[in-house]
């Protein structure tokens, strides 16, 4: 093995593998926490394991991974049970119950830690527990030894091996019990009535979460583990509606977060000219996962903020276009000839707003209306083109006629079939007319059976 490669494997690849394993284990389970609105349970557990860690250390007198794991997992379970018991016995809300339990547990942990510091040979560091020391998970092998030898293996960080086991257990558990987890996450009541032990499944999930949180400590620390639990699943939730796909996407994102975060933390300062500098890798992983979540929140194709606003804007504009065409048609109807409509009047009639102005421009561009220097049509609103007036073209006239026909057919339907009073149907019809497909229209007015006059006595234009 070449020296640079060996160097990379020893100092970078090993911690990176640890980070990825922690990230994947947490993200897998986090999917179900996010769905069940239990994200903060991960928060509570990760705060509350501190006294468990210290207690295990003090009782066993060693930092053996197994002992610490047991202590912390015990504290995690205690937290879950205490929150549930508080909620049931005293009926205080879940948030407050969690707040009380985890802050008291954490305070106890801090106090115990402080006392433990008085002992000799204690290398239990609170910063390490909270912030994680990913960089310390390197492969401690003397440069004389080959990596893949008995002596080489001895230096392999045991935390990474623990993470490997925990991650494998999480993958196996989610794969085997996927159906049950999905059912319980979406409808615990249904799961119970189908004979699945919903309580047991929830408890099992919490045990797994506690295990994953504890195992991930060494890699990312107790607070940042929350980012790993929540951010990748939340990101995936923005991107898809299917749980299976959500789980796979969240795992992929978890891997990306871990690798990018690690590289940014260790190489980033170097790239910025700070030679040999490095910042907290665990912190950077959390920041990256937050950044990815932020991008998904903004830019997700269907559920993203931008996509949602764009959809809403497009709908508003289309409705404004249709309303303007219908207005022009009604003017034509009154006059018996093509009339003009002041842009300012149109915008005002539609309640103002940018969408209405854009709608006029788009109608002109589509050739449905044309500019006219209509005398007396000036609405007096705004400057520039909004002072002008528009009139229907032939193409626009056809569409406008169809719209008004739909409107009046709906009014007829609402009066005759739904039984509304004729002076109550206009607004409802105004809304329905924008969402009427051709098929619906033909069902509203079957061939040859279309009435000629609407409930208010106005003629229904032909198709």
């Amino acid at each position: 093995m070449s020296e640079p490669l060996r160097q990379f494997v020893v100092a970078d690849l090993t911690p990176m593998v640890g980070a990825v394993l922690a990230s994947v284990a947490c993200a897998l389970l986090g999917n179900f926490l996010v769905l069940r609105r239990l994200s903060l349970m991960g928060d509570a557990i990760s705060h509350a394991v501190l006294p468990g860690l210290v207690a295990a250390f003090l009782v066993a007198g060693s930092r053996a991974t197994g002992v610490m794991f047991l202590g912390a997992a015990g504290a995690g379970l205690l937290t879950v049970i205490a929150v549930e018991a508080l909620r049931r016995l005293t009926r205080i809300e879940t948030g407050a119950a969690m707040g009380v339990v985890f802050s008291v547990m954490f305070a106890l942990g801090v106090l115990m830690m402080k006392r433990a510091e008085g002992l000799e040979n204690v290398d239990l560091d609170i910063d390490c527990v909270l912030n994680g020391q990913l960089e310390l998970l390197f492969w401690a092998v003397p440069s004389s030894e080959p990596l893949l030898s008995a002596a080489g293996w001895r230096g392999f960080p045991p935390q990474v091996l623990t993470l490997l086991v925990v991650c494998a257990v999480c993958v196996a558990a989610v794969a085997v019990f996927f159906k049950e987890l999905r059912l319980v996450s979406f409808d615990a009541g249904l799961a119970t009535s189908l004979g699945y032990p919903a309580g047991m499944i929830s408890a099992g999930l919490m045990v797994l979460v506690a295990g994953a949180v504890v195992a991930s400590f060494q890699a990312v620390g107790s607070i940042l583990v929350i980012a790993m639990l929540v951010c990748p699943p939340a990101t995936a939730r923005m991107l898809t509606d299917r749980l299976g796909r959500q789980v796979s996407i969240s795992v992929a994102i978890a891997v990306v977060d871990a690798v990018v975060g690690y590289l940014l933390a260790t190489r980033g300062p170097g790239l910025l000219g700070d030679e040999g500098g490095a910042v907290s890798a665990a912190g950077m992983m959390a920041v990256v996962s937050g950044g990815v979540l932020g991008m998904a929140v903004l830019g997700a194709p269907v559920h993203g903020v931008i996509a949602r606003h764009a959809r809403r804007w497009k709908l508003a504009r289309e409705i404004a276009e249709e309303d303007i065409l219908a207005m022009l048609y009604r003017i034509w109807e009154q006059r018996g000839a093509v009339g003009t409509l002041g842009v300012g009047d149109a915008v005002e009639a539609l309640g103002g707003g940018h969408a209405a102005r854009v709608a006029v421009k788009r109608l002109v561009r589509a050739g449905k209306v044309e500019w006219r220097d209509g005398a007396g049509a000036d609405g007096g609103g705004g400057a520039g083109r909004s002072r002008g007036a528009v009139a229907l073209t032939d193409a626009g006239g056809r569409e406008a006629r169809s719209l008004v026909r739909t409107h009046r057919l709906w009014e007829t339907y609402l009066v005759e079939k739904v039984g509304l009073r004729s002076d109550h149907v206009h607004c409802t019809a105004m809304e329905l007319e924008h969402h009427t497909t051709a098929q619906m229209r033909s069902e509203l007015a079957p061939e040859g059976a279309a009435p000629a006059i609407d409930p208010q006595g106005k003629a229904i234009p032909p198709a």
Binding site: S103, V104, A107, L108, V110, I226, A234, M238
Partner: protein, 486 residues
């Protein structure tokens, strides 16, 4: 937990220099030096402010928002330090750091709000994500500051775990002053806050600006969180706001009283915690403040007379005993009724416990229950019928059993006629509700039964049951026991 603490106490023989009583007394009465007096005073006022503001945060269900807010202050502290250093200052001035903390804390809260409002993600996920990501950013900044040549970020760590001992008198004055401000605002707006906490739609209807008041609550939460950073640390500051009101909630349903009580509990926690930390130099004050509050909480949870766990358990046990007694007596009555024994008949009035049990949920050990009923003078041992049937109702027991059976059958009647339950299904339903039949209702139902001719004019017996008496099991048992209908 208690066992653990004990074990740890024995395993960790840390030498504590226990202070003399005079020193404890001096600290508690603010005479142990100017500085420590200032710190204890500041922590007390901070506790009062946390308890007061926390009441409204809790009732508006914003309890955990303050946790997100607290964690989100870390990057602000780091950034403020870096900016101050870049400007040539020491970077350790408290107002500067707290200003930075406020800015990122508010950004964090707004982010939670925006995510909850504009995406499909729920509030819990938004809080958890903001909390951990902002904290991660803070950790990155602190790890960078640590490597600066000027960088002794030791002071910044105090904001994570809290170190009131490191507070200067000026810091204490700042914190105490701001806390007073928070209390004053809460007191002035008490009426508005109360309206919004109980019924925000009603508040909106009477013309209050709910959004603005929520903003005030959030602003006060921000204030308390930020000034609490140095005293208890960002990990634990949430407990200043959550533990006192949750404790006060056990004792009262009146908001004004709850607010005051919560303030008192918060103040006591701050006072005791900061004093302990001032006396025992090594004790982390933030943790002690929280644990003091936690002790108040646990004690209240156990002994509160309205919502306490002990009270609840006692009430539950009393109720179960009463229900078991009713079911036992009624079981006895029905056994006698099936056998055709008239009240006052000496012969055949005896029964065994086994006859009563079948098909009936009594809920307590029958033997224990029987012994209790004997003591209450409702049941007696030994009867003319011989040793096999060694239990009998006393005269009082019999009239009580009659009353209960009547009540039960009236309920069955009610369920059949008014709730349209099938006669074969009413027995168990009546079992559950019969213990709460009002006297008026009993009279009305009796009237109905009398008109149907099912209630004898004299009240010596119960009305006939709407369903066949005794389950199949019970009858088989009676037959086997040789006690079938006479």
């Amino acid at each position: 937990m208690g066992a653990w603490a004990l074990q740890i106490a024995t395993l960790a023989p840390v030498r504590v220099d226990w202070p003399g009583w005079t020193q404890v007394l001096q600290t508690l009465t603010f005479r142990a030096g100017f500085n420590s007096a200032g710190v204890v005073l500041a922590a007390t006022v901070l506790g009062i402010a946390g308890g007061t503001v926390g009441t409204f945060a809790l009732l508006r269900q914003r309890a955990l928002m303050s946790d997100a807010l607290a964690h989100a202050t870390l990057p602000g502290i780091g950034a403020a330090y870096l900016i101050a250093v870049a400007l040539g200052a020491t970077g350790k001035s408290l107002p500067g750091l707290l200003a930075g903390a406020t800015v990122t804390g508010i950004i964090g809260v707004l982010t939670v709000h925006a995510i909850t409002r504009h995406t499909r993600l729920k509030e819990d996920a938004a809080i958890a994500a903001v909390l951990s990501v902002f904290f991660g950013a803070g950790v990155v900044l602190l790890s960078y500051i640590q490597r600066l040549p000027t960088g002794t970020q030791g002071g910044l760590n105090h904001f994570i775990y809290g170190q009131p001992a490191a507070m200067s008198l000026r810091d204490a004055a700042l914190i105490g002053g701001a806390a007073h401000g928070a209390i004053a605002v809460a007191a002035v707006l008490l009426k508005e806050l109360r309206a919004v906490c109980f019924d925000d739609r009603f508040a909106a209807a009477i013309g209050l600006r709910v959004f603005a008041i929520d903003l005030v609550v959030m602003g006060l939460v921000v204030l308390v969180t930020v000034i609490g950073l140095q005293a208890v640390g960002l990990m634990l500051v949430v407990s200043l706001l959550v533990v006192p009101p949750a404790t006060a909630r056990f004792w009262t349903d009146n908001l004004t009283r709850m607010t005051i009580l919560s303030g008192v509990i918060g103040g006591l926690s701050g006072y005791i915690g900061a004093s302990a930390s001032a006396v025992l130099q090594d004790l982390p004050a933030g943790a002690v403040i929280v644990l003091t509050g936690g002790t108040f909480f646990v004690v209240s949870m156990l002994i509160s007379p309205r919502r306490g766990v002990i009270h609840h358990a006692v009430r539950l046990a009393t109720q179960r005993a009463a229900v078991a007694r009713d079911h036992f007596l009624r079981g006895a009555y029905e056994v006698l009724e099936i056998r055709g024994v008239k009240p006052g008949d000496e012969a055949g009035g005896g029964f065994t416990l086994h006859e009563i049990k079948p098909g009936r949920t009594i809920g307590l050990g029958t033997r224990v229950l029987a012994a209790w009923l004997v003591r209450r003078g409702l049941l007696e041992r030994g009867s003319a019928a011989g040793a096999a049937k060694n239990w009998a109702l006393t005269a009082r027991g019999h009239s009580e059993a009659l009353r209960l059976t009547r009540n039960h059958r009236l309920w069955e009647e009610y369920l059949v006629t008014h709730a349209e339950v099938a006669p074969s299904h009413v027995d168990r339903s009546a079992d559950r509700v019969e213990h709460a039949l009002s006297a008026t209702l009993v009279r009305e139902l009796e009237e109905a039964l009398r008109q149907q001719g099912r209630l004898p004019m004299e009240f010596a017996t119960a009305p006939a049951s709407v369903h066949p008496m005794g389950g199949a099991r019970a009858r088989a048992h009676l037959d086997a026991a040789g006690g079938g209908s006479a």
